[in-house]
């Protein structure tokens, strides 16, 4: 009953997906702006970055029990979530401001120093946005699938690959001023996907022989349990291996499809990870107790009004 709704749900997964992708996009935008030149990333992509982060934050707010009080999450500087909230705020602001430099006729179009500073900041905050969900989850000692440093890498890499994929798609819709970077993205993405593959397989293996039984139980879902199809079929095959192959081909269509698959894979991955958060450090007898509680729709709970 209520115990089934105790945990973070799909809205968190959507939030992680959008902020991860947006954060990854922001890193790429920022790095491109710092080390290449502004304009090598699509304007659409530049605006999409802070937009996606905002969408993610929007879902975060909707997930709250009292969304209208959302402003309160900025108040406890010791909490990871608070730091994340501030950071997202900065990321959205700087991302929008940086992207605005690409709008024709914008008044501050030639304030180059500001643009460079913003690019730098975008890289930093983008990295934080891309990484901090992993950091947040990895901090949870109570959740055996999440706990530990490994998940940080998984989130970072996922943010980067979805971010780059989104830039590829944005570039296909609205070309950047120069296509030099865009042309290298498929190769870059393919490389990162190989890394993603290695990291995931490694993570699963490490968890399987984890320090506690609980970790092995949690990861069993992924190997041959409830999440196996989504993991092997979805994230690994369709979300990593297939796009990897497609990106090594020369056709632009193949690249586009590959990028799309990577993005879908990223969404799927976030959903699976959040789902896996249902596994807790169960106490003796607890699961049996919870399994015997009513569902919530039983007549005896609703027939009498008191």
């Amino acid at each position: 009953m209520k115990h089934k709704e105790d945990v973070w749900g799909w809205m968190l997964a959507v939030d992680f997906f959008f902020v991860g992708m947006g954060g990854g996009m922001l890193v790429v935008t920022g790095l491109a702006g710092l080390f290449l030149r502004p304009g090598v990333t699509s304007l659409l992509g530049n605006f999409a970055a802070p937009l996606f982060i905002s969408i993610g934050a929007g879902f975060l707010i909707l997930e709250l029990g009292r969304p209208l009080q959302a402003w309160r999450v900025f108040l406890n500087p010791k909490a990871i979530l608070t730091i994340g909230a501030w950071n997202m705020l900065v990321a959205i602001g700087c991302g929008l401001l940086y992207a605005s430099f690409g709008i024709p006729g914008i008044p501050w179009a030639d304030w180059a120093v500001l643009q460079q500073i913003l690019a730098f900041v975008c890289v930093i905050v983008g990295l934080v946005v891309a990484t901090y969900p992993g950091f947040l989850l990895g901090w949870h000692k109570a959740r055996p699938f999440w706990t530990g440093p490994g998940i940080i890498g998984l989130f970072l890499i996922s943010s980067l690959v979805t971010g780059i994929s989104a830039h590829i798609l944005a570039g296909a819709i609205l070309s950047p001023i120069s296509s030099k970077l865009l042309n290298s993205m498929p190769g870059l993405l393919a490389g990162l996907l190989s890394l993603q593959l290695v990291l995931w397989v490694g993570y699963i293996l490490v968890k399987r022989t984890g320090t506690t039984d609980r970790e092995a139980i949690a990861v069993a879902d992924w190997i041959n349990g409830e999440l196996a199809l989504a993991f092997w079929g979805g994230l690994i095959c369709l979300g990593t291996l297939l796009p990897l192959i497609l990106l090594l081909l020369t056709s632009e269509t193949a690249h586009t499809i590959g990028a799309l698959l990577v993005i879908l894979g990223g969404a799927l991955m976030r959903w699976m990870v959040v789902r896996s958060g249902e596994h807790r450090t169960w106490l003796p007898g607890e699961q049996y107790y919870l399994s015997k509680l009513p569902e919530g729709d039983e007549a005896f709970l609703n027939v009498w009004d008191y």
Binding site: F300, W304, Y306
Partner: protein, 750 residues
């Protein structure tokens, strides 16, 4: 209303909050409850820290009292049936009209069929039973009954026949060994369990005799998981060991008993080796138990209702069990089971019953008294005579001397030996709690006139012609005195006057009495007056009942051990009768015979072929009490479906998994409960939960709140052959059954 944190201390600081010393009667522990009353409403309750029974504790049942008090499904006004019986159509009428009409109807029935055609049914000890008996005696009917035959009463009477009173008051503080025979205080009597834990810390040995590994068994020193219904064999084997291994109390037997030699000869063959295949216990374990009890003296045997519920062998089993105290001298000695006797100090229940007003002619008509003599007028009359001779008073007749319920239901249905035309039920949901629910349902549907005084529209109440709203424990004063047989009294007051149009059952009986020419016999206008009358002889300086509650609360006489030295035992020989002349007089065996379980694989192999598993049922479990509390959401949430315990290996053979709905079937019928796979029971034993019905469904016909769907009494038996010939107990436990999965979707039981 705003939630106020109230504690005893804080409440005293609020001028407008009164603290009332009430008592919960959701079970017989009658824990003290402080009720905080403001503006005539109970705003909070808590366990009374000054009440010695619970010392501030209060279990989940007592705690929800305020959810119970004004629950939307409570009956608050008198109702008269319009439409067909069970249709669920009612008109609300005033009390005086209801009583007028009921009285009129009773008179008509009496004039045509005799007063014996009116019967009353009760359930657990809940009501002012002495008032009920008073009314019935004056009316002329001998046919009142409760679930007495399942609830300690036959044990009380057998033990009183043997040693002159029932030693239910245990001197546990000085005890070294406690035998819990078919009793699980860990799930039913919370304060008793606390006491046991405390005493275990001081070295008390605890033996649990129970087919289930219960909460109490888990904390025992020794657990004897006997075959359900085989208690007679176990008790006889213990007698054999104690006598033939020389563990008996020589001095007590010489000075206080008769019939030892006969008993010794009688039990010679009942060795542990003989008992082992009958009880499914290892002979060494049987011996170990007997040794532990006999060698750790003083010791106690706590009664539980299990042995009263095994049907055919019940009398023999409780007889043999009773003799254990005698041969070990564990009677009225410090640390043992005390023969406190009835109280000489206050007016007992029996003295309020007006038994002298029932003529012998009418007594002879008591249904079942021709067969089941011990717990009806023949046996009760003789025993009351004996106790009056020695103690000066008699046990409560309403409980100890009752019509045999199955015989009454059969009389309703068949008109034999004479027709019963009216049934008044209070504090009972008969279709739920009496044996063979289908038969009971038939009887409730068939009886001409059915009146129910109730809290809830139970399936039984739904079949009534009149329903009257009953006051609960916060709305009435309560005297705790163990079915009227204790030498102590614990008094509790009402927190508030009954809400809406509810009344106490005393008011019901008195109301009828005034209309039937009995007014002189009912001078007390309310319970406080009646209770004051009863405790007045104690000699406290009080001018009313509430004053006694507020200032004194309890009366415990000084403990006197070895009273028999002064009085003798209330038996014909004035000794403990190991060879019982009273039982012999009544036509029963003077010494316990071996009787096998009501349905068993040895005596009934053809039944066992179709029904290979052994059923036991009826044990209490939290947070319910019989059919109560299933409509309290806070409790139902914790245990919302009926569960049947079945051994994991047996379940695997039957392809049953944890949580599957399964049918449990006996020769009487079948019910469905959810399988709980466990090692807590023998592979051949199955344990169904009692009490289950579904108040969230409409209790009217045809569904009747699912009262036959998961109700364990569909499985039990009231057949003549399954009733104990001595006390009349019908068979709830030790029956043969089979279990199989419910296929497909949930089918309704018709």
């Amino acid at each position: 209303m705003e939630k106020i944190t109230l504690t005893n201390n804080l409440a005293l600081q609020h001028d407008d909050v009164q603290v009332k010393k009430s008592a919960c009667f959701f079970c017989h522990q009658n824990c003290g409850v402080l009720a905080y009353v403001k503006d005539g409403k109970v705003v909070d309750i808590e366990g009374d820290p000054d009440h010695f029974t619970n010392r501030g504790g209060l279990c989940s049942r007592g705690i929800i009292a305020l959810k119970n008090l004004d629950h939307p499904a409570r009956i608050n006004h008198p109702l008269h049936r319009v439409g067909e019986r069970g249709e669920g159509k009612w008109e609300q009428i005033p009390w005086h009209q209801a009583l007028d009409e009921i009285a009129e109807k009773l008179v008509k029935i009496r004039d045509k069929f005799g007063p014996e055609a009116v019967a009353t049914a009760g359930g657990t000890q809940r009501t002012d039973d002495w008032a009920r008996r008073r009314f019935m005696n004056l009316f002329g009917s001998p046919n009142s009954f409760h679930n007495a035959h399942l609830c300690w009463i036959p044990t009380f009477m057998v033990e009183t026949a043997i040693y002159g009173w029932c030693p239910f008051d245990m001197d546990l503080g000085n005890s070294r060994c406690l035998v819990l025979w078919g009793h699980n205080p860990g799930a039913s009597y919370m304060p008793v369990m606390r006491g046991i834990s405390d005493l275990k810390d001081n070295g008390l040995k605890v033996i649990v005799i129970d087919p289930r590994f219960t909460e109490t068994a888990a904390k025992a020193d020794l657990w004897l998981p006997l075959r359900p219904g085989s208690d007679a064999a176990l008790a006889l084997a213990w007698l054999n060991v104690i006598i033939w291994e020389g563990l008996y109390d020589q001095q007590f037997i010489e000075n206080c008993c008769v019939g030892f030699d006969e008993l010794a000869q009688h039990v010679q063959g009942f060795t542990p080796e003989w008992a082992a295949p009958l009880t499914w216990l290892d002979e060494d374990l049987i011996r170990q138990g007997a040794h532990m009890y006999a060698n750790n003296k003083p010791g106690n045997i706590q009664w539980g209702v299990a042995v009263d519920q095994i049907g055919t062998p019940a009398g023999a089993a409780m007889h043999a069990r009773a003799l254990l105290r005698a041969v070990t001298g564990n009677l009225d000695a410090p640390g043992s089971d005390l023969l406190t006797g009835p109280s000489p100090d206050f007016i007992t229940d029996e003295e309020m019953e007006a038994n002298e007003w029932l003529t012998n002619e009418q007594k002879a008509k008591q249904l079942g008294s021709d067969k089941y003599k011990l717990t009806t007028w023949p046996g009760y009359g003789r025993i009351a005579e004996l106790t009056r001779e020695v103690w000066g008073k008699a046990p409560t007749a309403e409980w100890m001397c009752e019509a045999h319920p199955p015989t009454v239901f059969n009389a309703i249905l068949s008109g034999e030996p004479y027709p019963v035309k009216a049934l008044i039920t209070l504090a009972t949901n008969p279709v739920n709690s009496y044996g063979d629910s289908q038969r009971v349902l038939e009887a409730l549907r068939a009886v001409d006139f059915l009146v129910s005084m109730e809290y809830w529209k139970t399936p039984s109440a739904m079949l009534a012609d009149y329903i009257l709203p009953a006051a609960g424990w916060l709305e009435r004063p309560t005297i705790t005195s163990t079915y009227g047989c204790s030498d102590f009294v614990i008094a509790s007051q009402r927190a508030i006057q009954p809400m809406y149009e509810r009344h106490t059952d005393y008011q019901f009986w008195r109301g009828l009495a005034l209309r039937l020419g009995q007014e002189e016999m009912w001078p007390w206008e309310n319970l406080e007056e009646a209770f004051y009358y009863r405790i007045y002889p104690l000699g406290y300086d009080i001018s009313g009942y509430d004053e006694f509650v507020e200032q004194y609360r309890f009366h415990f006489p000084e403990r006197e051990y070895y009273k028999y030295a002064r009085l003798g035992f209330a038996t014909p020989s004035r000794r403990v009768e190991l060879y019982s002349s009273t039982l012999e007089e009544l036509g029963y065996s003077p010494m316990p015979e071996y009787v096998g379980p009501a349905e068993n694989e040895i005596d009934h192999p053809e039944v066992a072929e179709e029904y290979p598993l052994v059923l036991t049922t009826g044990g209490g479990f939290m947070p319910y009490y019989h059919s109560e509390h299933f409509q309290i959401k806070e409790l139902r949430f914790l245990r919302h479906e009926p569960q049947v315990q079945i051994n994991s290996a047996t379940a695997a053979e039957l392809e049953i998994e944890e949580g599957d709905w399964v049918w449990i079937e006996t020769r009487r019928g079948r019910i469905k409960q959810k399988a709980n796979l466990t090692q807590a029971v023998h592979p051949k034993v199955v344990v169904t939960q009692r009490g289950w019905w579904y108040p969230e469904r409409e209790a009217k016909e045809p569904g009747l709140g699912g009262c036959l769907e998961s109700n364990t009494n569909v499985l039990t038996s009231i057949e003549d052959e399954h009733c104990d010939p001595i006390g009349g107990s019908w068979a709830n436990r030790g029956l043969l059954c089979k279990v199989y999965k419910v296929n497909g979707t949930m089918e309704e039981v018709n």
